[in-house]
C-alpha cells in the first residue's frame, strides 16, 4: 500500500485548487439583479466585488487541494454542504468568486447521464445526441456504436423511443456512452446510485479500469462506495473543509457523527411493559456517548416495569451500524438465564465479552416478546448508542481478532 502511494506521488498533478470560494444569493429577485450587475461587470472585466453583498452567503469557502493522476478524491458532506457547487466550478460551468482552479487534460463529467436525450427519438439516435454533447465526433460514435449498445445490454430495444425505456435502461444507455470517454480528469456526482446491482458492479469495473490513468473526483452519499474507490477524502460542511486527507475511514466517521441522534423512541407498545431505564455500563465517555474499547466487554443495564403481565418474556437486542444496517443480534434470554422475570420491576444486565466491532458508532434496538409465540409487547428504537474505540480505522463493521502462526 505504502509503495503504491509513493509511486502515485511521482505522478503529475492534474487538478489544483487554490483558495476557491463561491457565493450564492438566498433570494431569487435579488439574485437575478446581481446577475445583471455581474453581467455588466463581467463584460467590463472588473475584478473587484469580493465582499458578500446583502442576502449572499458563501456556498464554498477557501477550498484547497491537489489531485494527481491515479488518485480518487471523495467529496462528502450533508445536503447543501457545497459539494455540487464545487463540482460545477471544477467542471467550468460557473466561475469562482475567489481563488483559482487549474485543470490539465480532458475533463469528463458524469453528472447527468443521458444529457441531450430526446424522449421521442430512438435509443440509437440518442446515442448520437448524447455522444455529441460529451464531445465525440460522428466517426468516433460510429466506431463505438456496437460497443455502446452491447455495454448497455439494449440490443433488443435500441430502436425503440427512449420515452418507453425504464429509468434503469435510460441510465444504462447514458452510462454506456459516457464510459467511452477517455478523460484525464473525471468528475462523478451521485449518478451511480441508480440502476440495479449488476449495473453498479459494471460501473465499478469501468471506474477501476480508468482509475490508474485518471484523476477522479467522486461525490456520493453512499459511504460504502466512497470507501470502496477513494484514496483521498474531503468532508465539507457549509462550504468549508472539515477534514482533508487520506484517512477515508476517519472522514466517514466524522460524517456519520453529524447524523447521530441521541434519542430513543418507542415504536410499538401495548401497555403491558414499560422501559424505565437503559444504560451502557462504561467508565469512559465521549460527548456523553459511552466508549467501549475493542475486544472488551459490552455491558447493558436494563430496567422494566410490568403491568398485569403473566407470561414469560424474551428480550432481543439488535445492533445497527452508522448506516442503519442491522449487523448483529444479541442472543436472547432463555430458561437458563439468571434473571427473575416474576417481579414487578425487572432489572438486569446483559453482557457480551470480547466485542469485535470495528471503530465507530453503533445504536441498539430493544424488543420485548412473549416467550413462546413471539408476540411483541414493546419495541424501542435507538435505546442505546455507543462508540467503539480502536487505533485501526476500517469501513467494515467487524474487526475480528486473529492469530497468525507458522505451519
Amino acid at each position: 500500500m505504502s509503495e503504491d502511494r509513493s509511486m502515485v506521488a511521482d505522478k503529475e498533478v492534474l487538478v489544483k485548487v487554490e483558495g476557491l470560494s463561491k457565493k450564492f444569493c438566498k433570494d431569487l429577485k435579488t439574485s437575478l439583479w446581481y446577475g445583471v450587475k455581474d453581467l455588466i461587470s463581467g463584460v467590463r472585466g472588473s475584478a473587484d466585488d469580493r465582499e458578500l453583498r446583502p442576502k449572499e452567503f458563501w456556498a464554498v469557502k477557501d477550498i484547497n487541494f491537489e489531485l494527481r493522476r491515479g488518485e480518487c478524491l471523495g467529496l462528502i458532506g450533508h445536503n447543501g454542504a457545497g459539494k455540487s457547487t464545487l463540482l460545477k466550478i471544477l467542471n467550468g460551468l460557473i466561475n469562482p468568486d475567489a481563488g483559482k482552479v487549474t485543470i490539465k487534460g480532458r475533463v469528463g463529467a458524469l453528472i447527468e447521464l443521458g444529457a441531450g436525450f430526446n424522449p421521442i427519438l430512438s435509443g440509437r439516435e440518442n446515442i448520437y445526441n448524447n455522444g455529441a454533447i460529451l464531445g465525440f465526433s460522428r466517426k468516433e460514435i460510429d466506431s463505438k456504436l456496437e460497443e455502446i449498445i452491447a455495454f448497455a445490454e439494449l440490443e433488443e430495444f435500441i430502436d425503440m423511443p427512449v420515452q418507453h425505456y425504464s429509468s434503469g435502461m435510460k441510465v444504462r444507455l447514458g452510462f454506456a456512452v459516457a464510459a467511452q470517454m477517455e478523460p484525464d480528469v473525471m468528475i462523478i456526482d451521485e449518478v451511480l446510485a441508480v440502476g440495479d446491482m449488476g449495473f453498479m458492479l459494471k460501473c465499478f469495473k469501468t471506474i477501476d479500469t480508468i482509475l490508474p490513468h485518471t484523476a477522479i473526483i467522486f461525490v456520493s452519499h453512499s459511504m460504502p462506495m466512497v470507501s470502496r474507490i477513494c484514496s483521498q477524502i474531503i468532508l465539507l460542511d457549509t462550504g468549508n473543509i472539515v477534514y482533508k486527507g487520506d484517512d477515508v475511514g476517519k472522514a466517514i466517521d466524522l460524517y456519520y457523527k453529524k447524523f447521530i441522534q441521541n434519542s430513543s423512541n418507542v415504536v410499538f407498545d401495548d401497555g403491558t411493559i414499560e422501559l424505565l431505564d437503559a444504560k451502557i455500563v462504561s467508565d469512559e465517555h465521549n460527548d456523553n456517548i459511552p466508549l467501549i474499547r475493542w475486544d472488551e466487554t459490552l455491558k447493558f443495564y436494563l430496567k422494566f416495569k410490568r403491568y398485569n403481565l403473566e407470561n414469560n418474556l424474551i428480550f432481543i437486542l439488535v445492533l445497527f451500524d452508522k448506516e442503519q444496517r442491522p449487523i448483529a443480534h444479541l442472543n436472547h434470554n432463555d430458561e437458563n438465564s439468571k434473571i427473575d422475570l416474576k417481579k414487578e420491576i425487572i432489572e438486569f444486565f446483559i453482557e457480551h465479552k470480547n466485542l469485535q466491532l470495528s471503530k465507530g458508532f453503533y445504536s441498539v434496538d430493544i424488543s420485548v416478546y412473549k416467550a413462546k409465540t413471539r408476540e411483541p409487547y414493546l419495541k424501542v428504537k435507538g435505546a442505546f448508542l455507543f462508540q467503539v474505540s480502536h487505533e485501526i480505522e476500517i469501513f467494515p463493521s467487524f474487526l475480528l481478532a486473529t492469530d497468525f502462526f507458522d505451519v
Binding site: L14, L32, D38, G42, K88, N95, I103, K104, R106, L134
Partner: protein, 281 residues
C-alpha cells in the same frame, strides 16, 4: 504530449480578440454537435405530428391571408404595390417571420438547453449554431412555398429569384445579431421574451410587410429609417424581379451587423457562466 490546461478564476483580462477567436473556434469545432442538436429537434418536432412541416408555413400564410382578405374585400385600401397583392403580402410576412424567428432563436436555443447547461460543459456556441441550422431548415421550406406563389400568381421567373437566399441569410444574420444582444438579459428575466413578442407586433406596422411605404408623412420617415425595411424590400424586389431600391441601405445594415454579431458572440461567451450560476443557484 502536453495536456491542455484550463484555468478558472475570477481575475481575468478581457481580450476581445482572444475571446472572439475562441468563440469562433468553438463554433467551428462544435459543428457536429450543432447539427446533431438541430437534427434532433427537427426530427422530434415532426415525428410527433401529422401536419408536420405545414406548421412552418402557418403563421406567414395566416397573416398574409388576413391582409389579402382585408384588401380584396375593400375593408382596407392599400396603395398599388406594382405586383399582385397576395405575392406582395406573402413575401413580406414570410421574410418577417424569418426575422422574428431569428431574433428569438438564440434565446430559445439556450433556454431549451438549460438542463444540460447546468450539468455538462460543452461549447455553448453549438446552441447558437444549431439555432441557425433550424432557421435555415424552416426558411428553405418556406422558400419552396414562395416559389409556388410566384408562379401561381403569374409573376414568373426572374434570375434575381436565385439571389433571394442571400436576402434570407441577411435576414437571419440581422435577427440573430439582435437576438444575441437580448439573450443574456432574456435568460435572467422572462420579461424580455414577452417584450420581444409584444414589440414585434407593433414593429411590423412600421415596416413595409403588408403595405408599401406611404408617399409622405411621419410614417414615411419612420419606415424609411427602420433597419428592417431594406431587408424586407430587397428580398421582395429580388423575388418579383424589380431593381432593389434599398440595396445600399441593405448592404450597410449587413456590414454593420458583422462587428455587432462578433460583439454579441463575445458577450454571450462571457455571460453564460454568470447566467448558469443564477439558473442553478
Amino acid at each position: 504530449m502536453p495536456l491542455e490546461t484550463r484555468v478558472y478564476q475570477k481575475e481575468r483580462t478581457i481580450k476581445f480578440g482572444a475571446l472572439l477567436k475562441a468563440s469562433l473556434g468553438d463554433m467551428y469545432a462544435s459543428r457536429f454537435l450543432a447539427r446533431q442538436l438541430a437534427e434532433r429537434d427537427i426530427k422530434a418536432q415532426y415525428r410527433q405530428s401529422y401536419l408536420g412541416i405545414l406548421w412552418a408555413f402557418m403563421t406567414p400564410l395566416a397573416t398574409a391571408a388576413v391582409w389579402i382578405i382585408l384588401n380584396s374585400s375593400g375593408t382596407v385600401r392599400i396603395s398599388d404595390t406594382g405586383v399582385p397583392y397576395p405575392v406582395y403580402a406573402f413575401t413580406g410576412t414570410l421574410i418577417w417571420s424569418i426575422i422574428v424567428a431569428s431574433i428569438n432563436s438564440p434565446m430559445q436555443s439556450t433556454q431549451a438547453a438549460k438542463g444540460i447547461l447546468t450539468k455538462i460543459n460543452f461549447p455553448k456556441e453549438a446552441l447558437l449554431l444549431s439555432g441557425v441550422y433550424k432557421l435555415l431548415f424552416d426558411s428553405s421550406v418556406k422558400i419552396l412555398l414562395l416559389v409556388l406563389f410566384v408562379f401561381f400568381y403569374g409573376v414568373g421567373f426572374h434570375w434575381s429569384l436565385l439571389l433571394f437566399p442571400v436576402a434570407m441569410l441577411g435576414a437571419i444574420m440581422f435577427g440573430t445579431t439582435v437576438g444575441l444582444f437580448l439573450t443574456p438579459m432574456g435568460l435572467l428575466y422572462k420579461d424580455i421574451g414577452k417584450i420581444i413578442t409584444f414589440g414585434m407586433q407593433f414593429l411590423m406596422y412600421v415596416t413595409p410587410v403588408v403595405y408599401a411605404i406611404p408617399e409622405t408623412g411621419v410614417m414615411k420617415t419612420i419606415m424609411t429609417w427602420n433597419p428592417i425595411t431594406p431587408i424586407i424590400l430587397t428580398a421582395r424586389d429580388l423575388v418579383v424581379g424589380f431593381q432593389p431600391a434599398f440595396l445600399n441601405y441593405f448592404l450597410i445594415v449587413l456590414i454593420v451587423c458583422v462587428p455587432l454579431l462578433f460583439l454579441g458572440l463575445i458577450i454571450y461567451r462571457i455571460s453564460i457562466p454568470i447566467i448558469v450560476e443564477r439558473l442553478s443557484a
